[in-house]
């Protein structure tokens, strides 16, 4: 979280972080049920970065192998991404499927399981935000992209709106069977959706 924000902004961001964690908590419960083992999911940190300053994007791109993306419209409009590095994605595949995975290839089963996992996590986060705003969100079908295997896929440039300037970046920590796997959740909003989301959150938590 940005250390230089004022108290009101900090409270808003705290509220946003809490909402996100409630969402991923629900997602974790669904995943636990699916793979019949305890799954913990937490977002310990949340921050924004500017699209015009690409250093963070480049760092993310360098470490990323798997991207699950899902677009949404309605009360919120944008794209949600779950990004994982190769080691994390492989280990996750192994833990979900209970079988050893190759280090640099993902077969049909692993891809499908990773897609479903991303689908659930994104649904948990975006769904909880839309519930909070009290307005429905409509989703497109999720997609999975492998990077570094079938060619380099830009992390966000194919999704970001021309007039978008800020991106919400969440560090996600997924724990399965005592193993912790780190990844990132990225929310890309169209136009001024991010500012609007924060304003509505601020309004919802402000003391009359």
């Amino acid at each position: 979280m940005k250390p230089d924000c004022n108290i009101a902004q900090r409270e808003t961001l705290d509220a946003l972080l809490e909402l996100v964690n409630i969402g991923v908590g629900r997602a974790a419960a669904s995943i636990s049920e699916l793979c019949s083992r305890p799954v913990g999911l937490a977002v310990p940190d949340i921050e924004f970065f500017n699209i015009e300053e690409p250093s963070q994007i480049i760092n993310l791109q360098r470490g990323t192998t798997v991207r699950v993306s899902q677009s949404f419209t309605g009360a919120l409009s944008g794209h949600a991404l779950l990004v994982l590095n190769q080691t994390g994605a492989c280990r996750l595949g192994e833990l979900l499927l209970g079988a050893p995975s190759a280090v640099d290839v993902f077969d049909e089963n692993e891809q499908a399981a990773l897609l479903e996992l991303g689908n659930i996590i994104i649904g948990g986060v975006v769904g909880n935000l839309s519930d909070q705003l009290g307005s429905p969100v409509f989703y497109e079908l999720p997609q999975l992209q492998l990077r570094g295997i079938s060619g380099f896929v830009d992390l966000i440039s194919d999704l970001v709106a021309p007039d978008a300037s800020r991106v919400l970046l969440m560090q996600a920590s997924l724990t399965i069977a005592t193993e912790s796997i780190s990844g990132y959740l990225v929310l890309l909003f169209t136009r001024d959706q991010l500012a609007e989301l924060l304003a509505r959150l601020e309004a919802s938590i402000s003391i009359p």
């Binding site: 669904s30 049909e108 399981a113 897609l115 649904g123 975006v126 769904g127 079908l141």
Partner: protein, 549 residues
């Protein structure tokens, strides 16, 4: 009940499609599902999923979640098994009892509670990918095994080459000593033949050692500033006698007003040029050989597509030429254009393969243009990472990169009476001992011998030597440890630092570094040669050499 949405578009889908209402009753059931489940739309429409397929009751949770969240959900086969059970024939190639499915459940927004389900048959896809993955694993293992075998082979070759160099030390050294004795013409011819054969064998061993070092990734390239023009002239100088003996013209053409001071591995560049020019002379019987140098536009090493300069060496001969179909195999190891070439001209077939690998290691390209009967042009380019003004290079820069020039004591400078420097030779091999003693005595030295490292330490303690020649690998106490002990004792006693030169048949850089770290002052490679010994004596034990405190 009739199918209200039984329209051609839905039936034309290559996947199964069904629509469920809020109570999970089937409203649409396309023909693909009829084929898969052998249940017609007429049998299915209006009935609930639980009624039709009791074994898929778990799907009701998914359907409820989709209705609640409004989010489409993809269902993986591995986490959900299947949406609908579609049995496969018992003898199905996949071995699966049921069709592998990829499924998507999406809300139909205009109709509250209604969901659309698409089911794709991915059985063959899963099977194919599983096979590919298994193949991928097998290939990775096979590659690992092959690479390990290749490394082991290269290490074996390097070790064997090293072991062969040790007895070669004895053969060539004693031939040199024998040549200095009274011989009649026939005996001298025999000795010359032994010497020539020995030198050839040594070159072959050096080639194999070079090649195996490259293959096992142990070759380390240097980067020093050198004058490429001077390097080319030096190579020509080395080959001048050979050219003269065959009546061939040998010339070097270096462009005037062109900076040819560059940074790189001069030793390896010289090795490649020497090999190409030597080959050119070998395969040319009339005419001559020309070495050309030029700077040309190229790309900067490591910077994809960035314009820079390349240094191009070419060696043109008027020799026998090479047939086009033979050019392709020229740079492969153990290959010559014609197997009869080996018998006629000699050579191992490793030289060009080594050149190719060296040039590629330095980021360059090597090639040849040739016509049978019209001679050949062998060329190589090297990317120039830093150009250096020739005027900035110290004199003798090129020589210093290969074999350092030191003040040399002429043979006559050492009295043969043994009144010259006192030298201790520590070597466990009797042949090497005899050879070293003989060579040193010829240089006028007084020689003492130690058979192992322990004896060497004791002799150094008792004697006042001008120089110690220490073999690295000896029983009881090896050379490295012996030197460490000597240095410690000298430090404790505040005694003068006696020069110690390592004798080693190993040419690996790490062994050289190890020698200096142990406290050696210099390293002398076996086989021992009189000129190398003379150089070492001149540098470390010549009369007037200041003794280090």
């Amino acid at each position: 009940m009739t199918n209200p949405f039984h329209i051609p578009a839905v039936n034309a889908l290559p996947c199964g499609f069904l629509e469920l209402d809020a109570e999970n009753r089937v409203l649409v059931w396309n023909q693909r599902l009829e084929q898969w489940t052998r249940r017609t739309a007429g049998e299915v429409l209006g009935r609930t999923l639980a009624d039709l397929f009791p074994e898929v009751s778990a799907m009701e949770k998914v359907l409820a979640a989709v209705r609640r969240s409004g989010q489409p959900q993809v269902l993986s086969q591995i986490l959900h098994r299947y949406f609908l059970p579609v049995p496969l024939p018992a003898n199905h190639l996949s071995g699966f009892p049921y069709m592998q499915q990829e499924c998507c459940v999406a809300p139909i927004l205009p109709r509250p509670g209604h969901v659309a389900v698409t089911i794709t048959d991915v059985t063959s896809h899963v099977v194919g990918q599983a096979r590919l993955k298994a193949l991928h694993r097998e290939l990775a293992v096979a590659k690992e095994v092959a690479e390990a075998a290749s490394r082991a082979k290269s290490e074996f070759l390097a070790t064997m080459s090293h072991e062969i160099r040790t007895p070669m030390n004895g053969v060539l050294g004693f031939v040199e000593l024998l040549r200095g004795t009274a011989l009649d013409a026939e005996q001298k011819a025999f000795v010359d033949t032994i010497s020539h054969s020995g030198e050839m064998l040594l070159r072959l061993i050096n080639d194999i050692l070079d090649f195996s070092k490259i293959e096992s990734g142990k070759l380390v390239l240097e980067s020093i500033s050198f004058d490429a023009g001077r390097l080319a002239r030096d190579v020509a100088g080395l080959l001048a006698a050979q050219a003269q003996s065959k009546g061939l013209r040998l010339e070097v053409r270096v462009p005037e007003n062109e900076t040819l001071g560059v940074s790189g591995d001069a030793v390896r560049v010289r090795q490649v040029l020497l090999n190409l020019a030597g080959n050119a002379l070998k395969f040319t019987s009339s005419g001559g050989v020309t070495i050309d140098l030029s700077m040309e536009p190229g790309t900067v090493p490591g910077a994809d597509g960035v314009a820079g300069r390349v240094l191009r060496f070419s060696v043109q001969d008027t020799g026998i030429g090479i047939a086009p179909e033979k050019i392709g195999v020229l740079f492969q190891k153990f290959s010559q254009a014609d197997s009869s070439t080996t018998r006629r001209f000699g050579g191992t077939g490793l030289g060009l393969a080594i050149c190719k690998r060296l040039v590629e290691l330095m980021g360059g390209v090597i090639g040849v243009e040739s016509q049978p009967g019209s001679g050949s042009v062998f060329w190589f380019t090297l990317p120039v990472s830093a150009e250096v003004s020739v005027a900035d290079l110290p004199p003798g820069q090129v020589e210093s990169s290969d074999r350092p020039t030191f003040p040399v004591v002429p043979a006559a400078g050492c009295a043969s009476s043994g009144s010259g420097p006192r030298v201790l030779v520590a070597d466990d091999n009797a042949t090497n001992q005899i050879l070293a003693v003989a060579l040193l005595r010829k240089l006028g030295c007084t020689v003492d011998v130690a058979g192992d490292g322990r004896q060497a330490v004791e002799k150094v303690e008792d004697g006042d030597y001008d120089l110690v020649l220490m073999d690295c690998h000896m029983p009881v106490l090896n050379g490295m440890d012996a030197v460490k002990e000597i240095r410690q004792r000298q430090a404790r006693a505040a005694a003068r630092r006696m020069p110690i030169v390592a004798l080693t048949a190993s040419v690996l850089p790490e062994e050289r570094v190890g020698c200096f770290e142990a406290g050696m002052d210099d390293v002398l490679a076996k086989p021992l040669r009189a000129e190398d010994l003379r150089r070492v004596i001149g540098q470390w034990a010549a009369p007037g050499t200041p003794r280090q405190p």
